[in-house]
């Protein structure tokens, strides 16, 4: 079992993801340079948070052209596990590996804080260690996390059970007040139709150790480990 963490120019959660896999999960992990043209030998690929290419044009708009993305696409098409966190989610949407787009937060400001996520499905390689409805205490940190998809796409991902996490209040209610960025249907994380590619705005990499305020994010990584062990 080997994890890979992609480094784009401007990635800044690459070391955080690496640390969780190496020191918390205690599993093998290596960095993947964005100009690499292959992800051979990896079982799960993480696109970390950050500001790839400074996010100057549009989040993820330039990163999708990095050579490694062709390899990631190929890997995903063969059923490989790909998880995009924050900027990684934005890149996956831009690259067309996930439906929809992430727009500027409705408040027009970057928001960094702890909040709650409600687990909507356990039928993914990323949530099998969770219970349906389980609340996760997990932080966000983004300026462009406002999930949008056209009505048709939205109803398709909803009916296909592709929404994995929604922003909720501390009691598990999906409310407008609990929505930090204006995302449609409070969507915080989705999988693709084949369910092997996950994108999520909140940071499990920042919430996998209780000394950081929460270890709930670790359950997402452990779900991946479960999946890979079962393979």
């Amino acid at each position: 079992m080997k994890f890979g963490v992609v480094i784009f120019p401007g990635s800044n959660c690459d070391h955080d993801c690496y640390y969780v896999v190496e020191s918390v999960l205690k599993k093998p992990v290596e960095f993947i340079w964005h100009q690499d043209t292959s992800v051979k030998g990896f079982d799960a690929v993480i696109l970390p948070g950050g500001f790839a290419y400074g996010d100057y044009l549009r989040t993820g708009a330039l990163a999708k052209f990095s050579p490694v993305m062709a390899a990631v696409r190929d890997f995903a098409e063969k059923g490989g596990l790909v998880i995009g966190i924050c900027n990684g989610f934005q890149i996956l949407c831009e690259a067309g590996l996930l439906p929809g787009a992430l727009m500027r937060n409705v408040g027009m400001k970057y928001v960094c804080k702890f909040l709650h996520l409600r687990t909507e499905t356990t039928n993914t390689p990323y949530s099998n260690a969770l219970a349906k409805g389980q609340l996760l205490h997990i932080p966000i940190g983004h300026g462009d996390g406002n999930y949008f998809a056209e009505t048709e796409t939205l109803s398709r991902i909803e009916s296909n059970d592709q929404v994995v996490f929604r922003y909720a209040d501390a009691d598990g209610q999906i409310s407008r007040d609990a929505n930090p960025n204006g995302s449609l249907n409070n969507i915080a994380g989705i999988v693709n139709e084949r369910r092997n590619v996950l994108g999520m705005m909140p940071h499990p990499d920042r919430s996998s150790e209780s000394i950081l305020g929460s270890a709930d994010g670790r359950l997402i990584f452990e779900s991946i480990v479960n999946t890979l062990v079962a393979k």
């Binding site: 955080d16 940190g141 501390a170 920042r206 929460s214």
Partner: protein
């Protein structure tokens, strides 16, 4: 070119300084040379007014690996690790162009850290603004916070703490002080030294443009009505470029390719070139045609004085030039050899092959003018806001409040009868200087790098150090009002409070950096304040054994002749030896006993250092004994506000109430809200152990009550002075700042 009097005035060079320049060169300077002298001998770069005083600060100690004089100070934190840290001001640019001014302030301090080989792992900032009843002050606040967020978030450093203070004196002159801290192995420190005659001098990073020319000179003068016209002097920040520069520099350093390195900050290429030469005792020769340029037809003068951001100058081992290029090209950056290290000690600048400047490095970097400016105590140290009330000092948070809040407190202080203390508490927690700063820090990524244990809003921020089982703790403190009232005592107070914050979080203070923001040094009153502050700070730093390892002086913080409060900001860094000692300020569990521990003598605006040390030693021992569940330093707003803060929700739990009997000494308003020095509240399940230990330490200790319920209740002499649903009080506290925007 003839050097005229006008030209000298434009360059801020006095007649006697000019005579000195001619003496050094033994000829008239060229225009480029005049420009070079003007920036290097500016107040900002040369510390000409402050140097004689700064010598009195303690700078050495067992943990100090590098004191002042380098890009940042360095201390040993054990485990083979060291941290580099420094604070720097970007006040003038932030007034002219708040967003970019603040952004580039963050960029500059981050470069100071990674130029030494340390990876920045924490940032903080100390901000001061005029009251938010003016649109201009709102615009400055929003711009500054936005600029800090823009730069720090993209770069990927967590902004984990700081201060935001409002007072009238900062209306036309906001203070933006940026702190950064980086970590590295003790044996991998890099210095800004141009060693090795014949080694290549390599320029890396962004191209040079006409932005920021004479930024250092601008920061060395006050603002008049033409401040807007100085906007082109403010640089534009590119945090993505800086992130690439960080990664490329660290990679080149770890590969052993770099001999010396310095960032191009104030005074750009000029400063980095001559300082690296001066420190190594070498010369530096460069050809400006090789400097990557963003604009056409730049003159030598412009290239040498540009303050374009995200640039570094490095000296590489001559056999490894090509490898350096490879690393920087991998990260998509320019890297060009622009010159060589020589043995003649001169900064020799060529443009199109012709020598346009030739000046001894040491003359520029080390032999600038030093002034002993006249000093005189001001006639009064009472700010206008406090002029008519003898007890204003007890409630210093009122500086920055609306008049009706000031009146409400001062009337209550006079005990005119019928006071509604619930209402006073509400006014206090909503007030500009005491309300929650969440609106500010939610815009900062304070969690990236996954180390943040206690973030913004804590007494001191805490980050764990991966791989060690230890944590670093840090805080910024600059009580401007207190220092204006009594510069020497106020400076002691700033150091004492910073140390207290570190101790409350479970740490041991190790060393500090300072950012000394003052008015016009040509005013004798300002120099008196400066000298007093240095003496107070020295006394306190000696007492706590926390040497000053570096920092920054910012003078000329004045507009239309009005000086700001003397506002030295202390950045204190400490170590927590075991993660289990990390202590937060928030109450934890129902039933925990709440205790107030304080020095026997109650003081306002002053500190007895011996008693303060006893208090800190006591708390430190109590935390090590695992008796303490939470600890919070009492400061502005006194006991009532501190208790409220402990009740408010945090990321771990919902708001929780408390029931308190306030010990009565004086008069209810003062006992509730008075800002007395050297006090802490803590919670424990071992109140008797705490009381015994406090008594042994010669401290006063009161068991105030217990944590629990959903209301904050404070009784005073048998009557219920305060009774508040905590979540309502918390809502007031959280809305205070946003409601003013």
């Amino acid at each position: 070119m003839v050097i005229t009097d006008d030209l000298l005035t434009q360059h801020g060079i006095s007649e006697s300084e000019y005579a000195r320049i001619v003496g050094i060169l033994k000829r008239e300077p060229t225009l480029t040379e005049l420009g070079i002298f003007s920036v290097m001998w500016s107040e900002h770069c040369s510390y000409k007014s402050s140097r004689v005083h700064l010598r009195r600060l303690p700078t050495k100690g067992p943990a100090v690996l590098q004191g002042p004089g380098e890009n940042a100070g360095i201390i040993d934190i054990g485990d083979g690790l060291a941290v580099a840290f420094k604070i720097e001001s970007h006040n003038h640019p932030s007034y002219i162009e708040p967003f970019q001014g603040a952004a580039t302030g963050v960029g500059g301090i981050l470069r100071d850290i990674f130029t030494m080989g340390a990876r920045p792992i924490a940032a903080m900032n100390s901000l001061r603004f005029g009251p938010l009843d003016s649109i201009q002050n709102k615009r400055i606040l929003e711009g500054v916070v936005g600029g800090i967020a823009f730069y720090g978030n993209c770069f990927g450093v967590p902004t984990i703490g700081g201060e935001v203070v409002f007072s009238k004196c900062y209306s036309q002159n906001p203070l933006v002080n940026a702190f950064a801290l980086g970590i590295f192995k003790k044996d991998q420190i890099f210095y800004g030294r141009a060693h090795g005659v014949g080694n290549p001098v390599i320029y890396v990073g962004a191209k040079t443009g006409r932005d920021g020319i004479h930024g250092a000179t601008m920061a060395s003068a006050g603002f008049g009505e033409d401040a807007g016209a100085k906007r082109p002097n403010v640089q534009i920040g590119d945090p993505f470029m800086e992130k690439l520069l960080l990664e490329a520099c660290l990679e080149a350093m770890h590969k052993g390719l770099i001999v010396g390195i310095q960032d191009m900050g104030a005074a750009g290429l000029t400063c980095s070139g001559c300082e690296m030469g001066a420190r190594a005792g070498t010369g530096v020769e460069m050809e400006l045609d090789n400097v990557p340029q963003r604009e056409d037809a730049m003159t030598a003068y412009e290239i040498m004085l540009s303050e374009s951001q995200e640039r570094m100058l490095l000296v590489a081992d001559r056999s490894k030039e090509k490898e350096v290029f490879e690393v920087f090209h991998k990260w998509g950056l320019d890297a060009v050899t622009i010159g060589r290290v020589t043995n003649d000690g001169l900064l020799r600048v060529r443009h199109h092959g012709e020598v346009v400047a030739e000046i001894p490095n040491k003359a520029l970097a080390d032999e600038g003018p030093v002034y002993e400016r006249p000093m005189m105590p001001p006639q009064s140290t009472i700010p206008a806001v406090a002029a008519h009330h003898p007890h204003f000092d007890l409630y210093s948070f009122l500086d920055g409040c609306e008049q009706r809040t000031i009146d409400a407190f001062l009337n209550a202080d006079q005990n005119t009868g019928g006071q509604d203390y619930n209402q006073l508490l509400r006014l206090a927690v909503r007030s500009p200087n005491l309300s929650s700063r969440q609106w500010v820090w939610e815009q900062y990524d304070h969690m990236v790098q996954s180390n943040t244990m206690l973030g913004p809003g804590s007494d001191a921020a805490v980050i764990r150090v991966k791989g060690t089982g230890k944590a670093l703790t840090m805080t910024l403190d600059g009580p401007g009002y207190r220092i204006a009232r009594h510069p020497r005592e106020g400076a002691k107070l700033a150091v004492a409070e910073a140390c207290r914050n570190i101790v409350c979080s479970g740490g041991r203070p190790l060393a500090a950096t300072n950012c000394l923001n003052f008015g016009n040094p040509e005013h004798p009153e300002v120099m008196w304040q400066f000298s007093e502050v240095v003496d107070g700070m020295s006394e306190a730093c000696n007492a706590f054994q926390t040497p000053i390892t570096g920092g920054n002086v910012s003078f000329y913080n004045e507009t239309f002749g009005e000086d700001i409060y003397p506002t030295p900001v202390i950045g204190m860094v400490g170590l927590i030896d075991d993660l289990s000692l990390v202590t937060a300020s928030a109450f934890r569990d129902s039933g925990d006993a709440i205790l107030l521990v304080e020095t026997v003598e109650r003081q306002v605006g002053k500190v007895n250092l011996d008693e303060e040390k006893a208090l800190q030693r006591f708390l430190s021992a109590a935390i090590r004994n695992k008796w303490v569940k939470s600890a919070h330093d009492l400061s502005e707003g006194g006991l009532a506000v501190a208790l409220s803060e402990c009740c408010f929700s945090n990321k771990d739990r919902k708001a929780i109430g408390a029931s308190i009997d306030v010990p009565s000494h004086l008069e209810v308003c003062r006992d509730l809200f008075g800002d007395y020095t050297s006090r802490i509240i803590l919670t424990t399940t071992e109140p008797n152990e705490i009381k015994r230990a406090a008594e042994l330490a010669g401290l006063n200790c009161f068991q105030l009550g217990t944590v629990g319920g959903s209301r904050l209740v404070m009784n005073y002499e048998g009557t219920r002075a305060i009774d508040f649903a905590v979540d309502e009080l918390e809502a007031d506290w959280r809305q205070g700042l946003p409601s003013l925007l």
